[in-house]
């Protein structure tokens, strides 16, 4: 099980099947993280399925799959390490798997802490790390029916 630091009422961080978790619902309840008054800043990020590829090619939809055991471990590790590194009260990453039409949210990152500089740095690093460290894979499917597995640039 993953542990969501200091946010007992939010779901554990990690990967979820698309229909089993509503990212916007989590976003609507981030006040559970900061309402104690100890934090001065909360920043969030939503990764959304786009209708074009990196090269500008039209995309019909994307499919996300994960090696869940690894992805959950890696996401928990990222959250834990960044909370320690930037002295944040909360780092949460929730990533969905399944089929996504353009415009649908795929991933939510929420970071909270006492200082905005640390919060923004932590958010940036969380986004960079979740894109490369957990075993999460993206397939773009194009209007002509062809597809391609997208590889992150390192």
């Amino acid at each position: 099980m993953n542990e969501q630091k200091n946010a007992p009422s939010l779901p554990s961080v990690g990967v979820y099947k698309k229909d089993s978790l509503n990212l916007l619902e989590i976003l609507a309840h981030v006040d559970l993280i900061y309402s104690s008054g100890r934090d001065g800043a909360v920043a969030s990020y939503i990764g959304v399925a786009r209708n074009t590829s990196r090269e500008g090619k039209a995309v019909s939809y994307v499919e996300i799959e994960a090696y869940e055991e690894n992805a959950n471990l890696e996401i928990s590790k990222i959250c834990r390490e960044l909370a320690d590194k930037y002295e944040l009260s909360n780092v949460g990453i929730w990533h969905l798997t399944g089929k996504f039409m353009p415009g649908e949210p795929i991933v939510l990152v929420v970071v909270a802490g006492r200082r905005r500089a640390a919060v923004l740095e932590g958010l940036k690093e969380a986004i960079e790390r979740y894109k490369t460290e957990p075993a999460i894979f993206k397939k773009e499917v194009y209007p002509d029916g062809t597809h391609r597995w997208v590889e992150e640039r390192h």
Binding site: G47, N70, P134, F137
Partner: protein, 111 residues
């Protein structure tokens, strides 16, 4: 003195591991996972050689670079834990291990 046993059979102990395939590798193999049998004491490299032998040149080029080294963007996980590149060479496998060749990841969003 003559032994009662004329022949001694030294049986090799074998281990069975599960190899799982994701993303493009699943398309190459046409399956999500398979079991492979190895001699006890085999390493990650032994398992990779067996997989490459089975699936051929396409698999070899996907996993290994021109020098025969595991490509920088390929990661190996045993039982969900990523194995440091420096430890792969002699990393021993145990019966029941799950080995995953992790292709490059994309994190679900564009840039």
């Amino acid at each position: 003195m003559r032994s009662d046993t004329s022949f001694v059979f030294i049986g090799e102990s074998l281990i069975r591991i599960e190899v799982r395939f994701y993303a493009y590798l699943r398309e190459i193999t046409g399956k999500h996972s398979e079991s492979i049998i190895l001699k006890e004491g085999s390493t990650i490299i032994d398992a990779l050689k067996l997989i490459i032998d089975k699936y051929g040149e396409h698999m070899r080029r996907y996993i290994l670079d021109d020098e025969g080294q595991i490509r920088n963007n390929i990661t190996i996980a045993i039982n969900a834990q990523r194995i440091d590149r420096a430890r792969i060479e002699g990393y021993p496998l145990n019966d029941g291990d799950v080995l995953v060749i992790i292709p490059p990841t994309a994190g679900g969003i564009n840039d």
